[in-house]
């Protein structure tokens, strides 16, 4: 099992959800986050005054999938999240030892 963690543009969450749904991956956790990548934010100007927007609003999507679905899931996420512009985000893949269903107590069922 792997935990796929994607940091994406806020408006891309619905597209990613749909794309994952099409490859039969339905569970996900979505969190509002702020951060910056290589572009380190940017400077905005309001009424002639500059202010630094260093932490940009992004969404973090977490999905746990079985090993055989990792590539499919990543392609779905990248395909839906990409605009080709700076700031499209990142995808990380992290190994998961075990997962439990709290209601049933089942182990390693995604």
């Amino acid at each position: 099992m792997k935990l796929i963690k994607a940091i994406v543009r806020p408006n891309k969450v619905d597209d990613i959800k749909d794309a994952l749904g099409k490859v039969n991956i339905s569970g996900m956790t979505v969190t509002e986050v702020r951060g910056h990548g290589r572009q380190k934010g940017h400077t905005a100007i309001y009424r002639g005054k500059e202010y630094n927007v260093s932490l940009l609003p992004k969404m973090e999507i977490e999905v746990v999938v079985t090993d055989d679905l990792v590539d499919v899931a990543i392609q779905a996420i990248i395909g839906a999240a990409r605009t080709g512009e700076i700031g499209d985000g990142r995808v990380f893949v992290i190994p998961v030892e075990h997962g439990y269903n709290i209601r049933t107590g089942e182990r390693d069922v995604v």
């Binding site: 408006n11 309001y46 002639g48 609003p57 605009t83």
Partner: protein, 871 residues
Amino acid sequence: MPVASPVIDRLNLMPTSKARDLETVEGRRMLSALLAAARQEFVADIQRGHGGTTAHARFSNRMDDLIRHIVAAAHSQTPTPVAVAALGGYGRRTLCLQSDIDLLIVFDGRIGRPEERFVKGVLHPLWDLRLTVGHQVRVLRDFDELERDNPEFLLALLDARLLAGDGAVFKPAQERFRGSSVECREQILEALLQLMEQRYLQFNHTIYQLEPDVKDSPGGLRDITASRVFASLVEWPAPPSPLDRDNLDSAEDLLLRIRSVLHLEAGRNLNVLTHDLQEKAAETLRYEGAQPQQRVEALMGDYFRHARLVGRTLERARRLAGPAGRDTTRVALGLNLELTADGVGFVDPQRAATEPASWLHAFEAAMDRGVPVSDQSLDVFQRQAALYKPADYLPTPADRQRVLKFLHPRPGLYARLSQMLDCGLLPRLFPEFQAISFRVIRDFYHKYTVDEHTLLTIRGLERLLSPDQPSRERFSSILSELRAPELLVLALLFHDVGKWKEDNHAEESLRMAQSMLDRLDVSPDGRQDVEFLIGQHLQMSRAAFRRDSDDPAVVRQFSTIVGTEERLKMLCLMTLVDIEAVSTETLTAWREELLWRLYVDTYNQLTLGYGDEMIQREQKAVAALQATRPPDLSEAELARFLEGFPQRYLALFDPAHIYRHARLSRDIHPDEVHLFVEQKDDVWELAVVTLDKPYLFSNISGVLSYFGMDILRGSAMTSPAGLVLDIFQFTDHEGFFRFNPSATPQFETLLQDVVAGRQDVTALLQRKESGLLHRRGPRRVAPIVYFDNEHSQRYTVLEIVAQDALGLLYRISRVISRHGCDVDLVLISTEGNKAIDVFHLTKAAAKLSEPAQMALKEDLERMLEEGYETH
């Protein structure tokens, strides 16, 4: 009606000697049977919908019996005199099916091993019965001083009731914690207020929760207790009225009946009336309706009405328990109004009942004085409101204007509107509001009824006046810049009235707002703003959260929807408070930041980036203008006039003004000026059409300054063909236009002369300007001169923020012209004492070079620094 229980009757008669040994199987079985029988009896009451005050009291009594058996059995463990008392809700005999058993054990002497054995003897059997016990063990001496750091215990003691043991121990303890000293009373008040504040904060200070906690929510059972405590603390002649007592008793019965269903269904101490349990409660309590949803609405309507009464009673009791409660003075306010400790009320309520037009006066007076409208007046409104039509409340145009003025955001507006809603006046003034009264929308996010959500948006706006978080200050400053914030409040009041329907509520709200706008005679400009806000109130959150607001195309599209900075500001604030009023968790810092960024990008697009977007002959808006064109304007004439002006022009002016401007452009020749001056509310508007030439903008603004006009807002546009349209809004402090019938011709003559070069405006202003410079006083706004060469492909955009002063625009534009720059577009705005001017410039038909910008910036900054006092 209570159900006879033979089991309980038999157990109650059990000899004490037999009950004494509870360690035996027989003893334990006896206690289990007692508890089971008490619960069975209570459950029967609950299932019949009768689990209210009487059933709770009976269950409490049964629990008393059980505990007395236990205490009697344990009593031999200690020689020390001891008393066991019920605390809190159990003390008040409102013990519910799954409530905790709160007990106080007081010893008259030190606590040693025998006393510990006694405590165990009491608690262990209760734990064996799987009851949750909250126990407090004290010695009598502990009550010599109040436990100030334990407010819950302090209040629970007020309801302490002796269950078993030595009355001679309990009585002195009770006398001490119920002491009538001023210090004691103040401690209790402080504890109560502290706990209330904590509790109210959890619920965002509102009664109207979609899933209320019938115990803890505002208007819930704890508030009933609080009202009674406040009332018990009042020494002066202001006891709770019989009406208050009846309200509380009736509300308590309903809330207890609901709570009993929750405890029964959940099988635990659950007091939240969730959506799922609302259906069960409505069915058990026999609410009528063919469908479950109708029964739920009937239940929730009843719940909110009672909770509201509790809230009102508590507020009154709280007020009377405070220092204001002692004030018996009456201050006459005129118009049959007076100010008392209870708030603003009527001197003659009977007369007021027949004069609905006077009711708004009571709310206005209450707002002005920062006090509520008195309960007596609210009762009058509640009884009489249904007798009158909306027009009866606002019979004259002046009355209708007063409503708008009343809606100006300021501290207390939410509280007064809530009073209006509670007494039924708001839905009479605005019958459209009735459709969302107690309206429940079930979704994952909304926590309040639609009517309350609406009022909470206005509370959000009110709170922006003095923001409690640094991140809100930026929104607060937008609010302070609005020209007519009352229009935003009016739009907020109506933005969700269409939610009585399931689909497209923005469209329905807009439809419903039409009759209100007719009734209130809202000005055409104001009406358009309100219609825009209601109809488009979801657009900004869609653009900010569901689209890529980093994409310039999204910003451009959104800026086309809003059209002007004023509407952008109103829509931004509307979006902010609308999200915030959904629940306490909805408006995260993340969302706030996204919203602000969209605001800034759109503001920049509207002010810095509008110059490149020209009106297109074939666009829809132009076709619409041509379609309604008056006969005296030819199609070609109108098309020629519009050609080359920015799109923004169409967003700024309505068709009537556009046609007037087109007429002004007719037969214009070099050095000629065609103008039109009109008064719009408190300001005057000057429209000037002429042909472009150097120093033109500076000369026109100079002539306005010469006549003492304070320029507030405006815009200037130059078409590529050289046609110039300048619009200025200004205040005429000296009354030149108002009191002088020949003002316009005089003004026109001088302007013609100045534009034609026959008069030198600089020479005319020299004496005046010098005077003005000396009157400037200390500087409060640090000047900003900023150049932007990115937003526009054709222009260098110069943005200047500076302290407003008479003649400022003239001085700025003069410096610009001296540098050989052409002023093609100008936006002028004034926000408080701050002037914000944006110029689109070219020099020799190109953007300004870096050195040219530097040189101009230096001169402008020097000019802006001149004339201020230095400290």
